[in-house]
């Protein structure tokens, strides 16, 4: 294993984590990872970034919607449902 292998692997890591690599490329990359703890650590770091982003999607609260806004949304929703029923 050398830095050239690491450099090539570097460009493929997101597709690897997303399971988007072709089987042969995946095999090649995993062969490299078996002998390269630094790259394994790098993959873990990238994976951690992704997991943190996913948590971010869950945890940011929004300010409550006012009654007037909610009433407007509900009106639009009910009108949409009425149109939907008519179109069937």
């Amino acid at each position: 294993m050398n830095d050239n292998d690491c450099s090539r692997v570097f460009g493929l890591l997101s597709e690897y984590l997303d399971r988007d690599l072709a089987p042969a490329t995946c095999e090649e990359l995993e062969d490299h990872l078996r002998g390269c703890p630094e790259c394994v650590e790098f993959v873990r770091s990238l994976k951690r970034n992704i997991q943190l982003c996913r948590q971010l999607g869950e945890c940011m609260p929004a300010p409550p919607l006012g009654q007037e806004v909610m009433a407007g949304l509900r009106r639009a929703y009910e009108e949409m449902l009425a149109r939907r029923r008519l179109s069937k």
Binding site: S7, F10, L33, R48, L52, L56, G57, P61, L73, R84
Partner: protein, 228 residues
Amino acid sequence: MLRAQRIGYSTERSQISWDLSVPGKRKSDAELAVALLTGDEAAFTEFVKAFHARLSQYSFLMCGYREDAEEVAQETLLKVFESADQLQDPSRLKSWIFRIAKNECFMKRRKSVFAPKVELSLDELKPVRFGDGESRGIEIADWTSLPDDLVLDGELQQALTGAIRELPEIYRSVVLLRDVEELTTEETAEVLEISSDTVKTRLHRGRLALSPANGPIPQNQSEGGHPA
């Protein structure tokens, strides 16, 4: 058979756990969308609550201002309800919603649509040990001291939010949709009106750049090539 099984990804051999899921994950958006479109009263409330928060966050990270973000979120919800009956396939609701939100954000920040696009080359994002001595030698390993089962607390959340906001828009928009909102590559391509290959390229570069240790993103980069 799962794609991962079919093509032979091996958890044991590579030493990497593939579970990218977050414990306590929300329920399916597709299920919520179907309930909404069939007139389920509870689904309306749940839908507004769930998507208002997500749209507020997305819009804040895209627009940069809380006030704009709130307006974008509300306007997007209104447009969704006004025209949801035109949606033929409920399973595409999520990408449809974020496409509306993206357009609302662009209208809020019209100048940014025409602003020069910043591209990051893969070489710039390589860690020092991969570098040739001339690259910036960005270190992505800033999160490595953190445990694998990390929970996003207030301080870390602030750091991550700041790092996302520092990304050039073309990368930020992809990272937000793929990694924060968990749209698929194809859904993201549809929302942003770009190819799936471009989504993958920008996602990888965005993920690599997404570290507080990276510092400011250069604003004068020329178009980068496709990654190796």
